[in-house]
């Protein structure tokens, strides 16, 4: 490296961008921290349309990413991002976020809709979304304490047919009205 009189520093030798040759492959934290700009630090989201990932079940996180990658699950940006990762990386990120501590979002909810949603939940959803949506079952996600806006977008995608449902889910969900679905979203958002 040499210093010019004008103050500009000019490298005499190699200037090509280098990477450390001995670096280990990306860790779960390295992979997952990159998501936090949109999903919040350690997966605690502050944006109503972005789901919180902290404390979500690993299986559901991994299934979501695989669905985004294959295009089976509709998305705006997530499909493009998911294509950048391997299944092993989905696994690492799923593990990372499932271990973070969730913080329920502070949001305005409609009490009448919550009550109606609870009834719909008990009749149509409770078999898979167990413990009022607080616990995962198989690859069903935890839906309790999620952002309302995020759940509403998912309900829209189901109702419009954009997001495919497996048979059992479709059987329970198809008879429900848009109002029912919105009420269920309010209910799950309200569960602490």
């Amino acid at each position: 490296m040499k210093f010019r009189k004008d103050g500009w520093v000019v490298a005499a030798g190699l200037l090509a961008v280098t990477a450390s040759p001995l670096a280990a492959p990306p860790t779960a934290a390295m992979l997952s921290n990159a998501c936090a700009g949109c999903h919040g630090t350690q997966g605690v989201s502050a944006g109503p349309s972005m789901p919180g990932l902290a404390g979500q079940s690993k299986l559901s996180l991994v299934e979501s990413m695989k669905g985004f990658k294959s295009g089976e699950r509709p998305s705006t940006i997530m499909g493009r991002l998911a294509k950048g990762y391997s299944d092993a990386e989905f696994d690492a990120m799923g593990e990372f976020f499932s271990k973070q501590k969730p913080v329920p979002p502070v949001q305005a909810l409609d009490k009448a809709k919550i009550a109606k949603g609870q009834a719909v939940h008990e009749k149509s959803c409770a078999r898979c979304h167990v413990e009022d949506g607080k616990e995962p079952k198989d690859n069903s996600p935890i839906v309790a304490s999620q952002w309302l806006k995020y759940l509403q977008i998912q309900m829209d995608d189901y109702a419009s047919g954009k997001r495919k449902m497996f048979e059992n889910k479709a059987e329970k969900m198809k008879p429900l009205s848009r109002e029912d679905l919105d009420a269920v979203a309010h209910f799950y958002s309200s569960v602490k």
Partner: protein, 431 residues
Amino acid sequence: MTVDRRNFLKMLGAGAGVSALQGCAGPAPMVAASGGEIMPKSGRRVVVVGGGYGGTIAAKYLRMLDASIEVVLIERNRQFVSCPFSNLVVGGIRQMSDLTIGYDKLASNHGIKMLYGEVTAIDAAAKTVALAAGTLKYDRLILSPGIDFRFEELAGYDPATTPDVMPHAWKAGPQTELLRRQLLAMKDGGSVVITLPLAPYRCPPGPYERANMIALYLKQHKPKSKVIILDANPDITSKGGLFRKGWAKHYPGMITYRGASKVTAVNARNHSVLIEGVEEVKADVINVIPPQRAGNIAVKAGVVGPDMKWCPVNATTFESTLAKDIHVIGDSCIAGAMPKSGYSANSEAKIAATNIVALMNGRETIEISGINTCYSFISEKEAVSVAAVYKVANNAIVSVPNSGGVSPDLSELEAVYAESWLRNILTEMSS
């Protein structure tokens, strides 16, 4: 124009810069700070310069990853105003307060020591930074200073006065508000010129989004007016197809795009710019976005490369290839395929923090995995995005093949997500 010593000092604003540069050059001592050492160092310390999209996140993640390292974040201003979404303020659909955050919660939540002041010099050999109040020692230094301008490439441009007449609004804050006021004061039937430099510059799609937001305001309030984009690049540098589609759909006949139209001179008195030294274009409102370089403090630290614009860094640690123990992140650095965007800076900050902690603890460094997501508004309700995942291949940062890309179409849902993008990223920076 070549940068000789006189011009170089002028563009740095002279003053303390003179001594600092002599410091870089070797024989002369570093500028003596008035107050001696401030905040004497006892344990291990990282100093972060610049509290924007990169610096806040670097400081926070350093503390999250190793609370035994003291972190000092130095920032000029008490509040930070986001460049992303500032075009929406120009267009009148967001307020400055939507984009403004403070540092108190970030500092108290993570035990970051905030130091408000301007760094005037950096001594890479002595590992000190100088402020008016005194000097500060570091073990490692992170520079996240954003951009400064290559004003000297625009004939007739006076850095002291031209921005008051022809705002750049490329650092959010008073310049954003000035551009907005000029639009409000303009007559119906007036013309607005936006000029942008050759890439790379901060926020590739930003100037075109700005045209959208200005046109949105004009369409509603001054429909006989025009927007002219004078682009130094041969074609739209980002999301080109989507912007063209948006212009045809929402602002037909209102936006004129001219590629390969590099502005080489400005005339504030005439309210005109000169394309390639030949064609004079007059307008009522002129938004001159000058060519850019790494923030001035990066120049003073001696970490700007031979292009005299940007800072070459190691693609794993973001350590400067020109100065040991100084890391450069955000718009100032050359990060391979990662664009000069807020989200890139966020991602780079976490990578740098991870590997600085590894290096300071004698552990193996970790290969990068990074993301960029960037939204641009087309209208009040529609937005588009570009997204990518980054990794290292052959010692360079590349976009993971067959991933990423731009939106298939204009989207109302993407405008909804864009809003949450802003809330999340500003929350991450401020808490």
